[in-house]
Amino acid sequence: MVEEHLVEALKTRQQSAFRQLVEQYQHMVFNTALSMIHNHEEAEDIAQEVFIQVYESVQKFKGESKLSTWIYRITVTKVLDWQRHKQRKKRFAIITSLFGANNEVERDVPDFVHPGVLMENKERSAVLFKALNKLPENQRVAFVLNKVEGQNYQDVADIMGVSVGAVESYMHRAKQNLRKLLETYYYTDK
């Protein structure tokens, strides 16, 4: 089904159109979420939330961008909201644990291995994903969209709502920061 027809069918709440939309974009949404969250169950929960949001707000979609761009944007927003929420929860747990409350501080996820990585790169990619988590939000989003999802700079710019120049800058700084983090890891940690 052509994109415009699919959107029109979604707006009239056709179940078959929603199913087609999910089948078409489920891996894209899940892969983006997983690459940023590093947990299969939570990434799937977020992917579900993304499609529920798409279903509920498709009436607002004006077709000014590609449908995939719009879905990517929702995915990134959901992931960042989830991460901020988790961060707040973690800080709160640390504070309450200081006052003797019985809140267990959540531990960081152990080394994450992306299922799509080539066998010979599994170990290195785990190190890279760990370093990726320490980058600022914008750099992390740009890096994942470009390197994991294979989106070009123009598409990344559309998804993030910034200029191509800004994406170039995020990518440049992301690579610089990752290099520094990896240097520290290989010189000291290893």
């Binding site: 199913r19 992917a47 290195r124 994991v148 290989y186």
Partner: protein
Amino acid sequence: MENKDNINSEIDATLNSLDRIGRAEVSPYFYTRLEAKLQQRKLSVFDNFLQQVLNRPAVAVSMLTVFLVLNIIAIRGVSAVSNVSAARSSSPLQNFATEYNMNTASMYNNSGR
């Protein structure tokens, strides 16, 4: 020096470790789970809406008023009907005649001639 070169090449290899990465795929039951969640969400949205609306004092008072007014109208309607039937039942012979069509002068009048 050699160690530094090794580390630099290790860093480059790590930075390039996502080359040719494939997409992670959701489980085959993703759509079924999504549908169930959506259904659950629809129900809870309706419940929440009802709860929120009914919890407002203005809505509760006006709904109670409407309920009372409807009751009063219904009671008045029922008593009016019973008054009419009481009035009718005051002449039982008339009722009997009407019921058995005995008001006509002759049985030939019914033949339409």
